[in-house]
Amino acid sequence: MTETVQERILCPVCGGPIKIDQQDKVNRCEYCASPVLGPSQSRNCVTHPDILAKEVCHVCGDLVCEDCIQKRVGEYGGKLLTIVNCDKPTCIAESDWAKPLNEEYQKLANMDWADRIDNLILRITGLGAIIMMVFELIFFIGVMFYQFLTPWSIPDISIGALGPLIMIPVAILLLNILGNLMSAILLQSALQVYVHERQMGAGITLLVILIIEVAHLLFRGLFFGLLTFPNPIFLPLMLGAFLFGTILVFVGSLMAIYIGNKKRVQLKETQEKLHLSIKP
């Protein structure tokens, strides 16, 4: 192959140039370093010539089958990435800095089964929490609007020398800001149900915050005297949204607790089976 032709070969991953340095070994893309077959390289394992290769040794560049590989997890600038080496002593020695992958543990602790349900839980709790957050934001503005721009007012409140002129805005601000903060915490917890390790804890946290949030809303409703609210649409609409959000978060948190517990049991059984004392 002439040099001119060689320069034209593009990486099938990124489109970067491939310089053919080796005819019977993999050559790497000059940009992304992805391996590409050499012009006269066989696609089979170097040790088992009748078996199609599955991986490339990151040290020597040989193609190897599943029987000849070792998978390792190496730390690159704080990130854990998977690398593969063949079973040649030199390649094993060169890869010694990376930790061998415990494939048996990997298999037993695999949580792929939960991918779909976790996606569903994330979306249910997330949507519910977003609805509650939006509810709180609108509720705040709504109460401010009706208090200061319409004849309706919450009941007079006085504490000592501080009369209703000061105490009404203060009470509205404080109670609603508290509601906003709680809905923000709810939102943060709702998103964490997607993390395997935090799923059960996030589910329990969600339930607790949900109970407090509902109680806080009921208290605000009674304290502000919302039963005498003049607008016949605003309050039912807001309550409907809040109820919908509450149901979503409630269902999502129960699901998170159930699935999170299943994962916890799976990990515990795996560790017992493999006699692992430390949680990997």
């Binding site: 593009l10 992304c32 997890v73 949580m111 939102l187 993390v195």
Partner: protein, 492 residues
């Protein structure tokens, strides 16, 4: 433009922006004054010399201030130099005026049936102070405000934002390559290929082209392990192993996900900046969707290694601290503003007491002025304070909460995964490199800092040079010893 080597308009210091706005304000006042003066002269309220004054005002204040003010905050070296020269001239002239006529120098300016007493001395002092500050600021912050000659500055804000955010690492320009793999096609040729290309084949497993994304059957792989793309004609290398994509059996896997090690096609991989590590050779790191979302945990024999997902929701959570920082900066700026606002009436009051030469003795006017100073300005300050407390702070608070909500909506919609395949098509259509998308569910990969890379390369080069020099020295010493021993032997 090399994105990492140039400046963007977003690098502009805040002070430079303020200078631009101030100069523009001077320019607008100059323009208004010119029009007023011209009008007064035309209507006969001012002597003929008014034409000359208006011309001086227009050419000396309005035009240069508007022109320089428009360019000085765009990180332009020549505009900064022009601003310094202009400020120096303005300081010189206003200083001279103050020296000759003093601070209490006033002009009586006719306005319809009235006349206005303009404290030109005060105006000159204001100009002198402002322009001195501007001049000093520009000189002190010279390195930050005046890019070195030849430096490219991206002034388009949307493009600057794109550069600041980072681009998906890719060696390809946002245009389709011609079959030679180096030149780019014309837009018409490009469109033709994009219209006819197909992403599936009827001849079994296919390889996806990294240039046009078209699918070419593996039956067309040549003996030298390359395959010409059926649509754009570029020659593609064939991925090292013949393994189908884990999600799409109809495609040959392009490469492996660098996190979990599974094989995927271009439709299932996204690309990010590589980790900052000398061990890593490539300029990109590929991730499948699962790893992009941070749901893969490698099981290793020791407990010390886990996927670093501790800061999983720091992006959304960070909004709170950002809002907190905004509160803090706002409150300190607000407190500073208030301090000056209270100082102004006191100073004005003081200056009214001093007014004399050239001024009038209108006691009623002075009283009105005092009333304005004592009542109006504090009321204005009070209103601003109330606005600050009641409107601005809740708005900031709300902005923070809305930002968190939007961030959460993005996370649950899960649309941030952008495959290399999609990114390529988008970049061809938009003729713009795609923006990098970091996972919201996984801590972002640290950007490979060019300085770090250059420093490490330089370090390697120096080390190699030292090794080579050491080797040469040792070689020379060995030869000298051999020569010496040879001559000794000869002499002996």
């Amino acid at each position: 433009m090399p994105e990492n080597d140039g400046y963007t308009i977003l690098d502009r210091p805040w002070g430079l922006r303020m200078i631009g706005v101030t100069q523009m304000a001077f320019g607008i006042f100059g323009l208004l004054a010119t029009i007023g003066l011209l009008f007064a002269t035309l209507t006969g309220a001012f002597a003929t010399v008014g034409y000359l004054y208006s011309l001086v005002l227009f050419g000396g204040v309005a035009v240069p201030c508007l022109f320089i003010g428009n360019y000085v905050d765009d990180l332009r070296r020549w505009a900064v130099i022009a601003q310094i020269i202009y400020s120096a001239i303005a300081v010189g002239l206003s200083g001279y005026l103050l020296y000759v006529n003093g601070l209490s120098y006033n002009w009586t300016i006719p306005l319809f049936d009235f006349s206005i007493e303009l404290a030109i001395g005060n105006v000159a002092a204001f100009i002198a102070i402002t322009q001195t500050l501007i001049m000093f600021y520009l000189l002190i912050r010279w390195q930050a405000v005046a890019p070195a000659p030849g430096t490219i500055v991206e002034r388009d804000k949307s493009r600057a934002r794109l550069i600041e955010a980072g681009l998906m690492p890719s060696p390809l320009e946002p245009a389709l390559l011609a079959p030679d793999g180096t030149t780019t096609l014309t837009p018409d040729e490009e469109q033709k290929i994009m219209d006819i290309r197909k992403v599936i084949t009827e001849e079994g497993m296919a390889i996806l082209c990294s240039n046009c994304n078209g699918a070419t059957s593996l039956t067309k792989v040549e003996d030298n392990n390359t395959v010409p793309c059926d649509y754009c004609g570029v020659i593609l290398g064939v991925g090292s192993v013949f393994v189908p994509c884990l999600n799409h059996e109809e495609y040959l896997a392009a490469t492996t996900c660098n996190v979990c090690g599974e094989h995927f096609c271009r439709q299932c991989l996204t690309v990010q900046e590589p980790p900052v590590d000398e061990k890593w050779q490539g300029s990109a790191v590929y991730l499948c969707k699962k790893c992009f979302e941070g749901r893969y945990r490698p099981a290793v024999t020791t407990a010390s290694l886990v996927i670093p997902i501790d800061q999983l929701f720091s992006i959304a959570g960070g909004r709170f601290s950002k809002v907190g920082q905004m509160y803090s900066s706002f409150l300190s700026a607000y407190a500073n503003g208030m301090k000056h606002l209270w100082r102004i009436p006191l100073q004005l009051l003081k200056s009214v007491g001093k007014s004399g030469g050239g001024g009038n003795d209108n006691a009623a006017g002075v009283l009105v002025m005092i009333v304005i100073i004592i009542i109006a300005i504090p009321i204005l300050a009070g209103i601003l304070m109330i606005l600050g407390a009641i409107i601005i702070i809740p708005i900031l608070f709300y902005a923070g909460l809305i930002a968190v909500t939007v961030e959460a909506a993005k996370i649950i919609s899960g649309t941030d995964f952008e495959s290399v395949d999609n990114a390529r098509v988008k970049s061809i259509h938009a003729h713009r490199k795609p923006k990098v998308k970091e996972s919201k569910l996984r801590p972002s990969v640290r950007v490979w800092d060019d300085e770090f890379r250059q420093a490490s390369l330089e370090h390697q080069r120096i080390k190699l040079r030292h090794d080579e020099e050491r080797r040469q020295r040792e070689e020379r010493r060995r030869k000298q010893q051999q020569a010496a021993s040879f001559w000794r032997t000869e002499n002996d």
